[in-house]
């Protein structure tokens, strides 16, 4: 349905003999709907629409482009400028990566996917299982890690995640990439946010990646901002993009934290992780 709506927009532009203000406004309104259906934040959609409208009406089209093609190009460029160009993940020789995020977003699964990613790049990975709340969290991680052939430290009966981090770091002394999986939490859970801050202090991560479910709607911006304010994020992992959700909430997460989307999750398997591709992401939103 989303691609139908934008095909409709393209048809409007390409069939119109020339572009005028009324047509531009109509095109922008259609694009607004595509963005909102993809869960892009309402305020962001409003700002984007204004900029797109101004650019489309005022800028001279680039030579060789019809005014119509110019409008479409403008929409793409505005969205890509928010996300940045596709960037290979910068691999240091040693790294500590902390994964945080809302309950059920995909952190545990992502920790193993990341471990596999690192080992394919020649870095020896190690995962610390610091979720002490969720029943069988350690079992889940062990079973996944076994498939990826990566070592895990955890305490199945453990109650103190900070102690687990300390013991885990000792065990991970020979590893190149140490990944910390944490319990799910959201910004209204003050005690859990306090714990997250303490874990970050003890673990001293090089990377703090917020794991976001692509189904996350309009609260994405506020949640990301709260995580960023608490421990300072260095990136985002957007999961479950193999489903129906377009992940528009991630745009706000990026806008609110000044970071980039590093990876996307495209399935439950440990190989289902890819470097974020902004052009593919935007095309999916615009259909």
């Amino acid at each position: 349905k989303l691609s139908d709506s934008l095909t409709g927009v393209i048809k409007k532009i390409t069939r119109a003999p020339f572009i005028d203000e009324k047509l531009v406004k109509e095109v922008v309104r259609d694009i607004q709907r595509s963005l909102l259906v993809s869960d892009v934040n309402v305020r962001l959609v409003m700002d984007l629409s204004k900029r797109i409208e101004e650019r489309a009406l005022q800028q001279k089209a680039i030579a060789g482009l019809t005014k119509k093609e110019h409008v479409i190009k403008v929409v793409y460029e505005e969205l890509i400028s928010l996300l940045g160009e596709k960037q290979d993940y910068h691999l240091p020789t040693k790294t500590r990566v902390m994964l945080i995020g809302i309950q059920g977003s995909g952190k545990t699964t992502t920790s193993v996917k990341l471990a596999k990613f690192f080992s394919k790049k020649g870095l020896r990975p190690f995962i610390i299982a610091a979720d002490t709340y969720r029943p069988a969290a350690y079992d889940q991680l062990l079973q996944l890690a076994e498939k990826a052939n990566v070592k895990v430290y955890g305490e199945p009966e453990g109650k103190d995640p900070v102690k687990i981090v300390e013991s885990g770091l000792e065990k991970a002394a020979h590893a190149d990439a140490v990944i910390l999986d944490t319990a799910g939490r959201h910004k209204s859970e003050e005690e859990l946010f306090r714990e997250m801050k303490e874990l970050a202090q003890r673990f001293r991560p090089d990377e703090k990646l917020l794991v976001i479910d692509s189904n996350l709607g309009q609260s994405a911006g506020k949640q990301a901002a709260a995580f960023h304010k608490a421990i300072g994020l260095t990136g985002v992992v957007l999961t479950k993009l193999d489903g129906s959700a377009k992940g528009g909430g991630a745009l706000s997460a990026v806008a609110e934290t000044g970071t980039k989307i590093r990876f996307v999750g495209l399935g439950e398997g440990i190989d289902d992780l890819e470097i974020f591709d902004p052009e593919r992401f935007v095309s999916r939103i615009l259909g």
């Binding site: 259906v37 069988a136 479910d213 996350l216 709607g217």
Partner: protein, 277 residues
């Protein structure tokens, strides 16, 4: 003065935005707006009338109409034995945790319950629900990881029948509505268990995708109601409205945390008043 379309659109604009910002899906907002227009367009109001209050109330009423009332405990009380409920939904929405909460509620209300660990797919899934069952003192039926999900469900129902237990709660693996193989598998689990209710477990934090998800799930197996989780996560939870509008079935409960008692009966009217105060 007669209320014309331009004025009505103007009065609706901010309210529409409030609904969208609360994660009510766009097509549901459109439908509700059309409903309000049908009710108010062309009507004349006295000179002192507070038009924005009138429009807001009309919108509230229209959204509230989306909800169908339902009392899960009553339905179970009057239902057959064993009463079978299958829990379905996309990955990570809180199905397994919700089953634990429902089991706690049922035990407290005097129903004997058995849980089927029919997520035979995901890492640690059986261990997770096994721990919940042991915490709750509720019987669990499981087989090994990789076993046939429908077989576990069937096993649990037979167990309940043999022991005269009241309710069977069947956990299933999270799955994307876009994955045809997994959706076919779910269809089979439901066909074999012949449940009294299939409940969609949705996330209060999710946005527009729920409409398509609920529609697709409903095509594979008729959905009888929903439970919305993570309502404690400071989201307005408009997805509950989207789900109710798409399903036209009751939202029975809200999950309001990770503890066994964090389950409260859904009240549509109160819910809408939170979104459109």
């Amino acid at each position: 003065a007669v209320l014309d379309e331009n004025r009505l659109d103007e009065l609706l604009f901010d309210l529409e935005l409030a609904l969208i910002e609360s994660d009510v899906a766009l097509e549901v907002v459109d439908a509700v707006k059309a409903d309000v227009k049908a009710a108010l367009l062309g009507r004349s109001f006295g000179r002192g009338a507070d038009l924005s209050a009138i429009v807001k109330q009309a919108l509230r009423d229209s959204v509230k109409k989306v909800f169908v009332d339902g009392d899960l405990l009553e339905i179970i009380r009057e239902g057959k034995r064993p009463f079978v409920i299958v829990f379905v939904g996309v990955n990570g929405t809180g199905k397994t945790t919700t089953i634990a909460k429902v089991a706690r509620l049922l035990e407290r209300e005097g129903f004997s319950t058995v849980i089927a660990a029919a997520d035979t797919y995901r890492a640690g899934a059986i261990e997770q629900i096994e721990k919940h069952a042991s915490n709750l003192g509720v019987r669990l039926i499981k087989q090994g990881r990789g076993a046939d999900s429908a077989a576990v469900a069937f096993d649990a129902i037979e167990h309940a029948r043999a022991r005269g237990l009241d309710v069977v709660l069947i956990d299933t693996a999270g799955r994307m509505d876009t994955n045809v193989n997994l959706m076919d598998e779910l269809k089979k689990v439901v066909r074999v268990s012949r449940p009294d209710l299939v409940l969609f477990v949705g996330d209060a934090l999710s946005g527009n995708a729920v409409v398509e998800q609920v529609r697709t799930f409903h095509q594979y197996t008729p959905i009888d109601g929903a439970i919305i989780t993570k309502a404690d996560a400071d989201a307005k939870g408009g997805s509950a409205i989207s789900i109710a509008a798409t399903l036209k079935r009751p939202v029975f409960f809200l999950g309001t945390g990770q503890g066994y008692d964090d389950l409260q009966r859904f009240n549509g009217s109160w819910f809408v008043d939170q979104i459109l105060p």
